[in-house]
């Protein structure tokens, strides 16, 4: 028994080195010449086993899995944040009000409230209820874009009025909306999302997802500068920019949108035939518009001396998330377009 235990230890010592590639079978046998007869057949078998199961996931699977994991992480993060922040009573009140007294005075009054106001919780709850009642993923996306825009407006107001204590929470909410925006269009076409994963700007695994847009979502009209067909007509809001129609494929357009003072890290590349007149065009225009304006507004907050340094990491995360979220949302919506 004692010998058997000793041999098990010797075998294990050799296996440890064999499995980790530190030694070959021969090298191990040299260290234990007295056990060579017993050890060799077992080590040969182990080496065969080690070689036979040296399988690796394909690059395609690896990329898909990483992308899916990224989405899952963003989804969980977003759901954790949003659901715990708004008091349940406020959600209950707003649900009843929205269903029975749509447009009631309280809700309308809360719409213009700012953080710190007694009606602010009602405003947040009303927004969440609107999302819950939205009939499609596209509508939900629109609402999240609007909510994100609202949060940025509030944050700007807070900074301008020296009420920065609620900035961190607002920035976290913003981040969670961006996560949702990047994910939601995917929910309607998972297969497309998978197939586009490999080309979707190499989803950096460690970053969150994001997107933003104004609450009263009137999709901005976007008009193409020149050289494109009518179908591709697009108008860009003020700070925007370079539009390069590709001659070979008239339906494919590449726009590089430098935001916030032409900083290179703020460039979002939009590729595809998204500027069409299909049912998705309104959402697409909203996404494109906000892909340009939102990061710029966040960057302005980041550049402000009035914003506490402690809040800036969250703002930076939100900024990164906005770019990835918009990029994903636009890519995904583009892939779902007819």
């Amino acid at each position: 028994m004692g010998n058997n235990k000793q041999f098990s230890n010797i075998l294990n010592d050799c296996l440890e080195r064999l499995i980790t590639g530190q030694e070959t079978v021969e090298q191990c046998l040299q260290r234990y010449p007295e056990y060579i007869d017993e050890l060799e057949p077992l080590l040969r078998t182990a080496a065969l086993m080690n070689k036979a199961i040296d399988v690796k996931p394909s690059d395609d699977f690896r990329a898909r899995a990483r992308y899916q994991m990224q989405l899952k992480m963003a989804e969980i993060k977003a759901s954790h944040r949003v659901t715990h922040v708004v008091p349940r009573w406020a959600i209950a009140v707003c649900t009843v009000m929205l269903v029975f007294v749509l447009g009631s005075g309280t809700i309308l009054a809360s719409a213009g409230s700012m953080p710190g106001s007694p009606l602010y919780a009602v405003k947040l709850a009303a927004e969440n209820v609107q999302v819950k009642l939205a009939w499609s993923q596209d509508k939900k996306t629109e609402l999240y874009v609007a909510m994100a825009d609202e949060r940025v407006t509030e944050m700007t107001w807070m900074v301008n009025n020296n009420k920065t204590q609620g900035l961190e929470v607002a920035a976290q909410r913003l981040d969670s909306y961006y996560n949702k925006i990047g994910i939601l269009p995917l929910a309607e076409n998972t297969e497309t999302a998978f197939s586009s994963a490999s080309q979707a700007a190499a989803p950096a695994f460690t970053t969150a997802i994001a997107t933003t847009t104004p609450l009263a979502l009137s999709a901005p009209t976007i008009t193409l500068a020149s050289g494109a067909t009518d179908k591709n007509d697009v108008t860009t809001p003020a700070p925007v920019t370079i539009i390069t129609p590709i001659a070979v494929a008239p339906t494919v357009t590449v726009i590089e949108v430098p935001a916030a003072g032409q900083r290179e890290d703020n460039v979002i590349t939009i590729t595809g035939n998204q500027f069409n007149t299909s049912n998705n065009s309104k959402l697409m225009n909203i996404l494109i518009y906000n892909a340009i304006t939102q990061p710029e507004k966040i960057q302005q907050l980041l550049d402000s001396d009035k914003v506490p340094e402690s809040v800036k990491p969250t703002l930076r995360r939100a900024l990164a998330a906005s770019k990835i979220g918009y990029q994903n949302a636009i890519n995904n919506l583009n892939n779902t377009s007819p």
């Binding site: 098990s8 296996l15 065969l48 086993m49 690796k56 996931p57 969980i76 695994f205 460690t206 969150a208």
Partner: protein, 182 residues
């Protein structure tokens, strides 16, 4: 080791980047562990993803003073496979059609690898459950004896003994197969 502890600590506190690094460290090994047990590439891919999703969902409640992170992760993988077998009760797809192969091998090498793997995997079917688990954890997962012991809730001595008897049994099965094939 200390680096992994730090990553786990950060991941528990909601640091996604830390979790992502843990994911990258363990992804290939978990896949190999699952593939050896399920023997179907598509299912193994799904399962591998599920393992990490589950880990991400549960990392907040993971107790660092209990089992090592690696052992905890492989317990998730093991439990997922138990659930899978229970729910699906699918028969394994023939190895030729399902098993992945090494990316860097040529065609001849691929065939050889598949045949080798087929032999080995078939031989593992003759092992007891505990022996098979030890072999999967040690060879596919690359776990140390200590980690395998924590994963299986057994002593290190017991794991070494199981490993020894498993390789002995594999040897006999493979030899018998060679003789039968002559």
């Amino acid at each position: 080791m200390q680096e992994e502890l730090n990553l786990v600590q950060r991941a528990r506190q909601g640091d996604h980047e830390a979790f992502a690094r843990l994911y990258e460290t363990h992804f290939d090994k978990i896949f190999r562990y699952v593939v050896l047990k399920i023997r179907n590439q598509a299912e193994a891919e799904d399962m591998t993803q599920q393992v990490f999703v589950k880990a991400f969902e549960s990392i907040g409640s993971y107790q660092m003073k209990g089992v090592p992170f690696t052992a905890w992760l492989y317990r998730i993988a093991h439990n997922q496979m138990v659930d899978y077998v229970r729910k699906e009760s699918k028969k394994p797809v023939p190895l030729d059609e399902s098993l992945p192969i090494r990316d860097d091998s040529d065609l001849e090498g691929e065939v050889e690898t598949k045949m080798e793997m087929e032999k080995v995997v078939l031989a593992t079917k003759q092992l007891t459950k505990a022996q098979r688990e030890v072999i999967s954890l040690r060879f596919a997962g690359g776990l140390s004896i200590t980690e395998a012991a924590k994963t299986m809730r057994k002593s290190e001595g017991a794991i070494k003994a199981l490993q020894h008897s498993a390789i002995l049994s594999l040897r006999k099965t493979l030899l018998a197969g060679e003789k039968g094939g002559e």
